[in-house]
């Protein structure tokens, strides 16, 4: 259910995420501009304006709490002091609104994963790891209370697998390379968070599963394939929780409902209010189990009503207010609202279909029953295929022949995957262009 997670997360300023209400999570970025020594004051000014505008609006709307997500851009992570200064600026504003108006807000600090700037990426030995971790540490000290990242382990393999609709390649990228990198990275993040009493929140398979969704929206790849990629991504994102992350998982991780079903953590989700950043077929259903409701990212540009982040703050607040009113009204009204959110999307697209709560539970059972991450990815994807085919047979969902022609191919490919990781690695290594990735950087 939205707003309710088995293991809520309490933040320093008193948000209880997953503890009975949904909060808005605002995400934003700079308008078109360069980031260099000449523009730094302007950059800082944008973030000051964004935080002030958004929190002022939240106060006017009687918000019960807000999360501001700060996803850093290249220069802000490469030179951590820039990112740290922005956290400091925004945290001072959060504190001001907390003291003056009692508005609880927190900053989610999400450094961008710099390691992919080297090609092939050096996941474990990259010199870029140091500034990333420095930003995490200094940024959390300055007020980044929730820690997240969109880590990129396996992306050098998944990019091609996505374009080739290669489900075995995706399982290799996510359930082997992604898992191994998540284990490496999240040990470090969780240790840092624990040292400073901060919250290791979670990772997002944005560069994998959301890339698949966006490509499917552009009609570049089949939607049925994108829905399988979403399910496969769960086995890599859940590693953050296995290493000690407690949520809220990141907004662009649409694998969140599976993580919530399996681990009980609260999650952030985005849907129709993220149309400013990308289109999706899951605008309503995405909110069915959310604890934070996000807009993905919007530029700080002027709209007729005001600055875009302020306008999106208002949209998010109204969505959250409706869900919270349903929660106050009781179990039956909240279930009805959830059912409407689900029913309005569920049979319009296979990516929506797999996100309905009952299908999330069914697939999640398959995602945890195996003895390896590879087996779990395979079983989860096969369960998703079963669900899609059942919906097609029942006539509730309709897909073009171009889409359905991929179903038997995907099933055959999944069935050919051995469940043992080493057997699978042995099968895949000769098939993958090894000039594009370094096996030793994944401990292979």
């Amino acid at each position: 259910m939205f707003g309710l997670a088995p293991h809520p997360v309490k933040t320093p300023r008193g948000l209880v995420i997953g503890g009975g209400q949904v909060y808005a999570e605002l995400n934003f970025t700079l308008p078109m501009m360069s980031i260099n020594s000449n523009t730094l004051n302007e950059v800082y000014g944008h973030y000051r304006e964004i935080a002030e505008g958004a929190l002022e609006r939240a106060v006017h709307l009687n918000s019960k709490g807000v999360v501001l997500e700060f996803e850093t851009l290249l220069e802000m992570t490469k030179t951590p002091d820039i990112g740290v200064e922005i956290v400091k600026i925004m945290n001072e504003i959060c504190e001001k609104y907390y003291q003056k108006h009692g508005l609880a807000s927190e900053i989610r600090l999400t450094p961008n994963d710099l390691r992919e700037f080297e090609r092939p990426a050096k996941q474990r030995t990259s010199a870029y790891l140091e500034p990333m971790m420095e930003l995490f540490e200094k940024g959390m000290i300055e007020g980044g209370d929730l820690l997240s990242i969109e880590s990129t382990g396996g992306k050098e393999v998944s990019d091609e697998a996505l374009m080739m609709c290669d489900v075995k390649g995706m399982v290799f990228a996510l359930a082997v390379l992604g898992v191994r990198d998540m284990q490496f990275l999240w040990k470090k993040i969780v240790a840092l968070a624990n040292n400073h009493g901060k919250i290791a929140a979670g990772d997002s398979a944005c560069g994998f599963a959301n890339t698949a969704m966006v490509l499917a929206e552009k009609k570049y790849i089949p939607r049925v394939f994108a829905s399988l990629v979403r399910v496969i991504s769960v086995v890599r994102s859940i590693v953050a929780m296995e290493e000690g992350a407690v949520g809220p998982d990141k907004d662009c991780g649409y694998e969140g409902p599976f993580l919530k079903a399996i681990t009980g953590i609260p999650i952030s989700m985005e849907g129709k209010t993220a149309a400013c950043a990308h289109l999706s077929p899951i605008g309503n259903i995405a909110s069915a189990c959310c604890d934070l409701w996000s807009n993905e990212s919007v530029q700080n540009i002027k709209l007729l009503s005001g600055m875009a982040p302020t306008a999106y703050m208002e949209q998010l607040e109204y969505d959250a207010r409706l869900m919270n009113q349903a929660l106050i009204a009781g179990t039956v009204p909240s279930r009805i609202l959830q059912q409407l959110l689900v029913a309005s999307d569920v049979y319009t697209d296979p990516q929506a279909l797999i996100l309905s709560p009952e299908n999330v539970i069914r697939i999640s059972k398959e995602l945890v029953k195996g003895d390896s991450y590879v087996a779990n990815a395979k079983n989860g994807a096969l369960a998703a295929l079963d669900i899609i085919e059942e919906a097609l047979r029942s006539g509730k969902m309709k897909l073009s022949e171009l889409e359905t022609s991929y179903l038997p191919i995907l099933r055959d490919e999944l069935n050919s995957i051995p469940e043992n990781e080493s057997d699978f690695v042995e099968m895949m290594l000769p098939l993958i262009d090894q000039s594009k990735f370094i096996p030793s950087e994944y401990g292979l």
Partner: protein, 239 residues
């Protein structure tokens, strides 16, 4: 007279065989059949792929330029059209590109010897600070399928590398890609850098945050909203 008739008959048979090979090669590339062993596409299973058909075509004496112009380029043209009309997905297009690649490997020596000419050279890269390359790769693949020689500079490319590539490929057209609002601005610097080196270089741009207005504002020549439009623009330049 009989000798003349035999020669004529032989010539006709040879012409028919050549046309048949060209037609089969076109079909192999259009549907992504790389070689005899390839299981894709199912309807051509067990049949020669572009690799074998190109070899046979060359052995039969078909001019390599004809192979390019009558089989490969039209095949990729059909593929591009089907993709634009949402009749196929990228994986099918990539299989066609791979099939074309298998053919081009055998034709490459003829480019080097001057017996064959491409439509031109297209230098492409994702601009400095930006790592997003899925769109760029698609454009490169479709432009190559349109008969152009590609120089792919990869990602995070500044003006120096574009200029260096232009030095090595005089007269080439340049394509710039970006996905971020904070990297699209680097396109302006790169355009200015290129114009400073060769003022009349044709430059096209693409990527999620850019549009025709931005293209004009930085002095680039063409904004391509999708890969097919990039191919159409380049083909106009070549015609």
């Amino acid at each position: 007279m009989i000798l003349y008739l035999l020669l004529f008959l032989n010539q006709t048979l040879n012409n028919n065989k050549m046309s048949e090979l060209i037609e089969k090669l076109l079909e192999a590339v259009e549907f992504g059949k790389i070689d005899l062993k390839s299981p894709y596409p199912p309807q051509l299973r067990g049949m020669d792929g572009s690799q074998e058909l190109t070899q046979k075509a060359l052995e039969t004496g078909i001019n390599p330029q004809r192979i390019l112009e009558e089989a490969l380029i039209p095949a990729m043209g059909r593929v591009g059209k089907k993709f634009s009309e949402n009749k196929i997905f990228v994986p099918q297009m990539l299989m066609s590109a791979k099939a074309m690649g298998a053919s081009m490997i055998q034709l490459k020596p003829f480019f080097a010897s001057g017996q064959m000419k491409s439509k031109g050279t297209f230098i492409i890269g994702t601009v400095k600070g930006d790592l997003h390359d899925i769109g760029k790769n698609l454009v490169a693949m479709m432009v190559e399928g349109g008969g152009w020689t590609i120089v792919d500079l990869g990602v995070d490319v500044g003006s120096e590398r574009f200029i260096e590539a232009l030095k090595n490929n005089p007269g080439a057209v340049v394509g710039l890609s970006a996905l971020l609002t904070t990297t699209m601005v680097n396109m302006g610097d790169i355009v200015a850098g290129i114009r400073g080196f060769v003022p009349d270089t044709k430059i096209l741009i693409g990527g999620a945050p850019v549009n025709a207005d931005f293209c004009r504002s930085i002095g680039a020549d063409f904004y391509a909203p999708d890969p097919q439009k990039a191919v159409e623009y380049l083909n106009k330049l070549a015609s």
